[in-house]
């Protein structure tokens, strides 16, 4: 039985981990909230049952709980917790699936590639290769960067492991928790939002069995997160599956794409509408006339 407490001003919140990591109890000393419930849903229940005045003092306890559980809660339109669980766990804790005892090594092909990448940099700046090597490691390790991957990269580049951890936690594209086979990132930044990305996100989530952002489907095929701008605003709304952009989405085309991935196929990336890349969907509005050829408008001797 372990207990953790977090202080906010003079309020003490206590999380008591009873029996397993799944169940937590939350106590706040000043208003006697004491709830025991299961991973996932319980935080929003507590939130709804809390008087508005007590919420601001409770919120830092909430943040803490979210971090401890790695979950996300939705209530009254507010989303607590990050869409990416990796972002929230800035402290590594050993788990059966992620601990330094699990061996990781580049396969021969990646090792050759890694050596090639390292050779791009002067020998004393070899640590500059840390980002490409982490990416290589993430790809080999089923799309996520485990502690073993980081340690291995540190060893390869002869740098203190902490320097690698700093990089891996700084960049959000390194997933530090396992993900599904297909990593779906839905853009919800302003241009996409204006073009209906909320529908796309909701469609994605409900089509995959009602999961929440940051969660993985039960069959392990999909992990969905919300992301910030991917730079494809001219084809908004968009989502990214693994390395490919799927643009100009509608709820229907989104479902189609997800279904295809679910069957193990790979639909054609790019705009899902009829247009080519990011050309104007309403047709050309400028340069509509025939371009003039060589010699036109020139004085006769040059024609």
């Amino acid at each position: 039985m372990t207990s953790k407490s977090v202080q906010n001003g003079f309020h003490i919140f206590q999380f008591v981990n009873a029996e397993s990591l799944q169940s937590y109890r939350l106590q706040a000393d000043h208003n006697d909230i004491e709830t025991t419930c299961l991973h996932g849903s319980w935080l929003s229940d507590v939130w709804k049952n809390t008087a508005t005045t007590a919420r601001s003092t409770l919120s830092s306890a909430f943040n803490y709980a979210i971090q401890a559980l790695g979950c996300t809660i939705h209530c009254e339109g507010l989303i607590y917790g990050s869409p990416s669980r990796s972002l929230m766990t800035l402290q590594h804790r050993d788990t059966p699936y992620n601990n330094p005892q699990i061996e990781f090594k580049f396969n021969p092909e990646n090792l050759t590639r890694a050596k090639e990448i390292i050779s791009h940099y002067p020998t004393q700046y070899k640590k500059a290769a840390v980002i490409p090597l982490l990416d290589l490691g993430q790809r080999q390790n089923k799309g996520w960067t485990s502690i073993s991957v980081m340690n291995y990269v540190a060893e390869l580049l002869e740098m203190p492991p902490m320097r690698v951890y700093e990089v891996a936690t700084f960049y959000t594209m390194f997933n530090r928790e396992p993900i599904g086979t297909n990593f779906v990132q839905v853009c919800t930044t302003t241009p996409c939002m204006l073009r209906g990305s909320t529908d796309i996100l909701n469609t994605t989530l409900s089509h995959l069995g009602g999961i929440k952002p940051g969660e993985t489907t039960k069959d392990g095929k999909f992990t969905v997160i919300e992301v910030e701008c991917q730079g494809a605003c001219s084809n908004a709304p968009m989502l990214v599956v693994n390395d490919d952009f799927y643009e100009d989405l509608t709820p229907e085309s989104t479902k189609k794409i997800l279904d295809a991935f679910s069957r193990g196929e790979k639909p054609k990336p790019g705009p899902q509408s009829s247009r080519q890349t990011s050309e104007n969907s309403a047709g050309l509005t400028a340069l509509t006339s025939k371009p003039y050829g060589p010699g036109e408008h020139c004085s006769p001797e040059f024609q």
Binding site: N8, F62, N63, L90, H92, Q124, E155, M162, R163, E166
Partner: protein, 754 residues
């Protein structure tokens, strides 16, 4: 520069090839002149603007900037846009300078270089407004728990928010303030990470000074955290310094948690005696108790760092103390006695054993101060004895030291501690400075990081925090190296070095090959002409590890050859606790004078309670031969007395007349023995002809090396003397970092549940 490293030198770590900072300090350049608040100031080119402002007497409030750490300028994350725009425009628009100064309030003035002809204002309404704004940002996520925060009263954030901050905030985050989980950094540093303002001073200290590259920042932006990412403790003998560096209450002291407030404490400037560096400390006391020990800046000795032992062994001063004289009764049990009874019991004992001449032996321990050594030597000499030993391992303290004591440079750190920074090659012989002189070791690391210094080592491998080339483990390997028969990068660089340094560990003197090592080094130095020893450089150093030893050698507290072979009948142990019990004959009468009931007291027939180093004003000589004055912060407990006074009183009882009755006349006597003993804080170098004569005396002893492996004297850095052995904190550190046992409490809890 690529460092070639003996990769096995740090077996638990990765090769250290890339550890040296790429941006090392450049040579000093021309001076530049700028105007700060209407005052002209001249600073060296390359100085930070914040330094220029400081020089002009316009202090800039700062959090991330620290004199002795690399410049980060990372507090600026609060005002990024403003900072960058203005930094760009600063040279073009003189008018924007107030903005610049305001925006660099915490940050960019430390990162911004001072420029020639710059005009800087640090005290305009605009600056004040900007500072208030930055403070508002800083406090947006800072808990308002000052009443329960240990930093309260000495907190930079508190002081600066009172000086520069607003009385209200516009931030009321619905999600509450940022919550960050606390980290377990070990038994010394307590963390309260909610309070962290991410100045990264601790990270820079750990990486640059302590050489523990486990601390860093994880995450980004508002989620940035300081920590180690994995669950790990901060395994460094200098970790306590991050507590001083932390400008807020995020890193506070675990042993001192909730013990006292700074305004309740009396500050006494004193000297540390738990190693031979002589770190300058400030003893903070309340009533009769030492509450904590803080470093005091002295660039010639410890800069502003002290080791964890120096800082935290003080709780050992509260336990195991001898508070009253004790006399062993007929049933072999100690009985409390009055001072007159105890002293006459000693006089009786001396008479009963019939000890005369060299049969009267005095042994000086680790923590004996110079005054009491002088008085004890006078007493023993006047009783007709030359038998003045020290409590070295394997009875080697009973014999005269192999390096002799006639010439100071034979047993001192002659290059001086600041001299380490100008050395370009260091040869360590049988020493791990990290354990024997932790603060001095950080200087070697500093020099290694910022210059082309190379280090070679003969002796057992050790984790030193800098890379070294391992040359062998015994005296024969040293002979081979000195004979030029070792190949490798270090040997090449050593041959070309202009300021080479040899650092011989004090344990060499106790080793069977000690004489051989000293003589081969002396011969080498002689044959090298002016390379190692010349007018402006003496590269021969002995690193002492025990505070009393340099002073004992200086006053000649060593046995004569005749005395060394005499079996003693009366033994006087002055703070001697490391003594081998086997070296005491069963029928000898033993007196122990000291402050802790440890091994020495257990051997004694009479115990006399002395004062610990925080309880007496005494002179201490460090490994360089620098004499420094420690001051009494608290009174000695119970009937305990100043050590020299005890010996003086005993002299009266045994009928010896010593010509001094107060500390001033004792110091006159010290002056007569060696004037440098009372020239406090000054370092007196040995003149060249004398140093050479010393080397000649060492070189004359020709003894073949046996080739037995050299040994390091300290296996547990945290427990080396009576004070640190009595300390709970040091015991916890031993468990956490040396024996690496898990918490027995946690184990017990598991069993209970099972």
């Amino acid at each position: 520069m690529l460092r070639i490293v003996a990769s096995a030198s740090r077996p638990t770590r990765l090769a250290v090839a890339n550890r040296r900072n790429i941006a090392s300090t450049s040579a000093r350049q021309a001076d530049i002149t700028l105007t700060v608040d209407g005052k002209e100031v001249t600073v060296p080119q390359g100085s930070a603007l914040i330094q220029a402002c400081e020089a002009a007497g316009s202090p800039i409030p700062r959090f991330c900037y620290h004199d002795r750490l690399a410049i980060a300028g990372n507090c600026r994350w609060h005002v990024p846009r403003r900072g960058t725009t203005l930094t760009k425009t600063r040279c073009v628009m003189a008018r924007s300078l107030p903005f610049l100064v305001s925006s660099f309030f915490y940050s960019s003035s430390s990162a911004a270089p001072a420029m020639n002809g710059q005009v800087v204002f640090t005290n305009t309404p605009l600056v004040h407004e900007a500072r208030e704004g930055v403070m508002e940002f800083l406090l947006a996520n800072h808990p308002l728990d000052c009443p329960i925060c240990d930093q309260g009263g000495e907190c930079d954030l508190q002081d600066q928010s009172i000086r520069y901050g607003s009385d209200r905030t516009r931030f009321h985050e619905i999600t509450g303030k940022r919550a960050v989980s606390n980290k377990d950094l070990g038994p010394i540093v307590k963390t309260s990470m909610n309070r962290c303002i991410q100045c990264t001073r601790c990270v820079r200290f750990a990486n640059e000074v302590a050489g523990v590259e486990d601390l860093g920042t994880t995450g980004r932006g508002n989620d940035l955290q300081i920590g180690m990412y994995v669950e790990k403790m901060m395994d460094s003998e200098l970790s306590g310094n991050v507590i001083d560096l932390c400008p807020v209450g995020a890193l506070t002291s675990k042993p001192y948690a909730f013990q006292a407030r700074p305004w309740e404490l009396k500050n006494t400037e004193s000297i540390d005696v738990l190693d031979a560096v002589g770190s300058n400390i400030r003893v903070d006391s309340r009533g009769v108790q030492v509450m904590r020990i803080q470093p005091r800046t002295n660039d010639n000795v410890n800069e502003e760092w002290i080791s964890d032992k120096t800082r935290y062994a003080y709780d050992g001063l509260r336990t195991q103390r001898l508070t009253t004289p004790l006399v062993k009764g007929p049933d072999n049990r100690f009985v409390a006695a009055s001072w007159p009874d105890a002293l006459s019991a000693i006089a009786d004992g001396l008479k009963r054993t019939g000890a005369s001449g060299n049969e009267i032996k005095a042994v000086a321990g680790h923590l004996a101060d110079t005054e009491s050594l002088v008085v004890l030597k006078d007493l023993v000499n006047r009783l007709g004895s030359d038998n003045l030993a020290s409590d070295l391992a394997d009875k080697s303290g009973d014999a005269p030291p192999v390096h002799g004591v006639d010439i100071k440079s034979n047993y001192s750190f002659n290059s001086s501690i600041p001299g380490l920074e100008s050395a370009d090659a260091i040869l360590l012989v049988g020493t791990n400075p990290r354990h024997e002189a932790a603060v001095l070791n950080s200087r070697i690391r500093k020099s290694w990081l910022h210059s082309e210094l190379v280090v070679g080592m003969v002796g057992p491998r050790a984790d030193t925090t800098y890379a070294y080339e391992h040359l062998g483990e015994d005296a024969k390997a040293l002979q081979k190296f000195l004979g030029g028969k070792t190949n490798g990068d270090f040997a090449e660089r050593w041959a070309k070095a202009e300021r080479p340094m040899i650092i011989v560990g004090s344990a060499i003197g106790e080793h069977v090959d000690g004489e051989a090592v000293f003589s081969m080094l002396a011969q080498y130095i002689q044959s090298a002409g002016t390379r190692l020893v010349r007018d402006d450089w003496n590269g021969f150093n002995v690193l002492q590890r025990v505070a009393s030893r340099p002073a004992a050698y200086e006053i000649g507290f060593v046995p004569s050859r005749a005395a060394a072979s005499t079996t003693p009948k009366f033994i006087y142990l002055l703070n001697a606790d490391e003594i081998d019990p086997a070296s005491i004959p069963a029928d000898a009468f033993v007196v122990y004078q000291g402050h802790h009931g440890d091994r020495g007291a257990a051997l004694a027939d009479v115990c006399l309670p002395g004062a610990a180093y925080t309880e007496k004003g005494a002179t201490w000589v460090n490994t360089e031969g620098r004499s420094q004055l420690g001051r009494a912060a608290v009174p000695p407990p119970g009937a305990a007395r100043d050590d020299w006074k005890i010996v003086r009183a005993l002299a009266e009882v045994v009928g010896v007349d010593l010509p001094y009755d107060d500390v001033v006349s004792v110091r006159d006597r010290m002056w007569a023995i060696s004037p440098s003993l009372v020239r406090w804080d000054a370092l007196e170098e040995t003149s060249l002809p004398v140093a050479k004569a010393g080397l000649a005396s060492l070189a004359g002893k020709k003894k073949a090396a046996t080739g037995q492996k050299l040994e390091l004297p300290i296996t547990n850095f945290y427990q080396t003397d009576v004070v640190s052995r009595a300390s709970v904190t040091m015991a916890q550190c031993t468990r956490a970092f040396v024996t690496r046992e898990s918490e027995p409490l946690a184990k017990g809890a598991v069993e209970m549940h099972a």
